[in-house]
């Protein structure tokens, strides 16, 4: 078996397993954990377009998730529009907001950019928490929005079982992974990488670093907002502190950094490691000792940064390379 064949077989196997999993898993709780795992992998992959490829550290991406959720839900509640349509509107609003904050902030150095994104998203959260209603449009302040049950309908983006949500987020994840793969091999990907590593040198060679960063942020915000609509429809309820809060923004960045920033598989690997860890330590430890699961979380973060500052993808790839070369040589 050649290396390429091995890669393809494994990829096909992974595809088959992820497609067939809902048939094997009957417990909605476990399916929900998987759905959220893919949801976070999707968010982090979108984040990776700016946070990874463009080499800055955005720490306020929850604001785009929130824009997506609020836009589609408000359009559905007020004008009875399908959330699918609202999802696209939310994406466009988020892209506009992203470009608007990217334009002045991309001039700044790392720390300033990170602090600025935090302040912006926290500012938006505080604003929304203060608004009960804007004219006829209800925001419900800190209580958030509830989406009324309308019964199973594709048009309303509501399903009685978890499986449709599973396949929707799986499709979204596959598409966004394909998109980042495509971008990383395009001219834009090279420009972004060059601008992230050596902004001055790239600029001197005639790369319009700022422009490509802005495009990346716009695209990233758009994609992130789509997941906001997904989350709203999955939960049928959301509130500012959860969907616009710092915890969500930080978790996205953590997954990326633990998995490997700027690597296509990074977000997926990060989510595969952190999400189950997060869910299970919370389920099993938080009753006995509240806080212990977050201590473990923090320690893992510190240890990965100490021993694998580029994330877990790199050593895992090396391990896979070694195993693969063994299989292909002994097999041939």
């Amino acid at each position: 078996m050649s290396r390429k064949q091995l890669d393809m077989t494994l990829l096909a196997l992974a595809g088959l397993i992820s497609f067939g999993l809902p048939l094997l898993i009957e417990s909605p709780t476990y399916l929900q954990i998987l759905i959220l795992l893919f949801f976070y992998a999707y968010l982090t992959t979108s984040w990776n377009l700016v946070g990874g490829f463009a080499g800055v550290l955005p720490l306020g991406h929850a604001v785009f998730v929130g824009i997506g959720a609020y836009t589609s839900t408000i359009l559905a509640l007020q004008f009875n529009l399908s959330p699918w349509f609202g999802m696209l509107v939310g994406g466009m609003v988020a892209a506009l907001v992203g470009v608007a904050i990217g334009k002045p902030t991309f001039r700044m150095r790392g720390a300033y950019f990170a602090l600025c994104t935090i302040a912006f998203s926290e500012g938006v959260r505080v604003m929304i928490e203060n608004i009960d209603s804007l004219g006829p449009i209800k925001f419900n302040g800190p209580r958030g929005l509830l989406i009324p049950l309308k019964g199973e309908s594709f048009w309303n983006y509501q399903f009685m079982h978890k499986e449709p949500y599973y396949y929707i987020i799986l499709t979204m994840l596959v598409l966004v992974l394909a998109l980042t793969w495509f971008i990383s091999r395009s001219k834009m990907g090279y420009y972004l990488a060059a601008g992230g590593d050596e902004p001055d040198a790239a600029q001197a060679l005639g790369v319009d670093v700022a422009k490509y960063k802005l495009i990346a942020l716009g695209l990233s915000s758009f994609l992130t907002a789509l997941a906001g609509t997904f989350y709203a429809q999955l939960m049928l309820y959301f509130y500012p502190k959860g969907i616009l809060g710092l915890d969500l923004s930080f978790e996205i960045a953590f997954i990326a950094l633990i998995g490997g920033r700027g690597m296509i598989a990074g977000p997926l690997i990060g989510a595969l490691v952190l999400r189950p860890l997060n869910e299970f330590t919370r389920i099993y430890l938080s009753n006995q000792l509240p806080g212990l699961h977050l201590v473990i979380f923090g320690l893992i973060l510190i240890l990965v940064m100490l021993f694998q500052p580029k994330g877990l993808t790199l050593p895992l790839t090396r391990l896979y390379d070694r195993l693969a070369s063994k299989i292909t040589t002994t097999g041939a």
């Binding site: 150095r109 720390a111 500012g123 950094l257 320690l299 893992i300 100490l306 500052p309």
Partner: protein
């Protein structure tokens, strides 16, 4: 008119204390070029240290000022030496290593939740010798714990400022802040300087803890309340600037207390974010910041 004057007095006193909570952050950034996300947690550690010290010994809060900051200095010194330095060494060629930011975030999670495990989630207060005492000047009411907090804050800032200029260690800190390679070549041990900077930053958080505890409560995630505000203050004043942190703190304190005369406190929070973003867009280096740092 009187309520407005009262709001201004309150705002300046509280603002200086906010400035004090941001001093350690700005010092550590100035020297190490790292935004310390664990700063709020260090403040929480300082507040708990002051809380337990005063609670167990029943000592006057001013005396805690002599004991708590030195303890916290060593806490910060060794935390930087053991946890943060290795990451720094791995990324020594990067000016603002982002992995260090993530490590400090990990430290934040660990410290806050260790406190939660040890002390529980309840809000704790301790009655000190100055708690609740106030006096009136003309028609203005001045709270004694806040006034002494103001005095200690300004004193700490002035002391730190002199220390940075007049002592050998202070100059070494400044040299490392300006150009770590050259400072290295001149015989400054960069990593020892980082330990010292982190230690001083943490000690200042300890001072802030002693100052805040007589009129505020402490709980494991109390740092987050001051953390975001400290970030805003240092960016407002200019990251790395000691005078900037005090100025930024007083601006934020004034905005908070004057605007809260006209609107609910949640809206004043929104206004603080708006002011912060405006300043960032108009003058990213902050009011008194160093142009090199943004």
């Amino acid at each position: 008119m009187n309520t407005l004057l009262q709001a201004v007095v309150d705002g300046i006193m509280m603002g200086a204390i906010y400035g004090l909570t941001a001093l350690g952050l700005t010092l550590i950034f100035g020297v190490m070029k790292v935004v310390n996300f664990a700063h709020g947690s260090l403040l929480m550690v300082g507040m708990f240290a002051a809380y337990w010290f005063i609670k167990l010994t029943g000592i006057h809060p001013y005396l805690a000022l002599v004991v708590v900051p030195p303890v916290l200095f060593f806490f910060g010194y060794f935390m930087q030496d053991i946890v943060i330095k290795p990451v720094f060494k791995a990324e020594r060629e990067v000016r603002e290593p982002l992995t260090v930011i993530i490590v400090t975030t990990g430290v934040w999670y660990v410290l806050d939740n260790l406190a939660l495990m040890l002390f529980g989630a309840e809000y704790r207060t301790v009655r000190t010798a100055i708690t609740g005492i106030s006096f009136s000047l003309d028609s203005i009411i001045v709270s004694l714990p806040k006034l002494s907090g103001f005095v200690v804050s300004v004193g700490t800032a002035v002391g730190l400022w002199c220390f940075m200029r007049k002592t050998r260690i202070g100059r070494a800190l400044q040299a490392t802040s300006l150009d770590r390679e050259t400072a290295n070549l001149m015989g400054v041990n960069q990593y020892r300087i980082y330990n010292i900077a982190f230690g001083i930053g943490t000690a200042v958080a300890g001072v802030a803890g002693c100052v805040i505890i007589p009129f505020y409560y402490v709980y494991p995630s109390v740092g987050v309340v001051f953390d975001i505000r400290a970030f805003i203050i240092v960016v407002l004043g200019g990251l790395g600037s000691i005078r900037g942190a005090m100025l930024g703190g007083i601006v934020i304190g004034l905005v908070e207390s004057v605007f809260s005369q006209f609107m609910t406190s949640t809206w004043t929070e929104a206004i603080i974010y708006a002011i912060f973003l405006t300043i960032l867009f108009v003058k990213p280096s902050g009011l008194l910041g160093n142009k090199l740092d943004w």
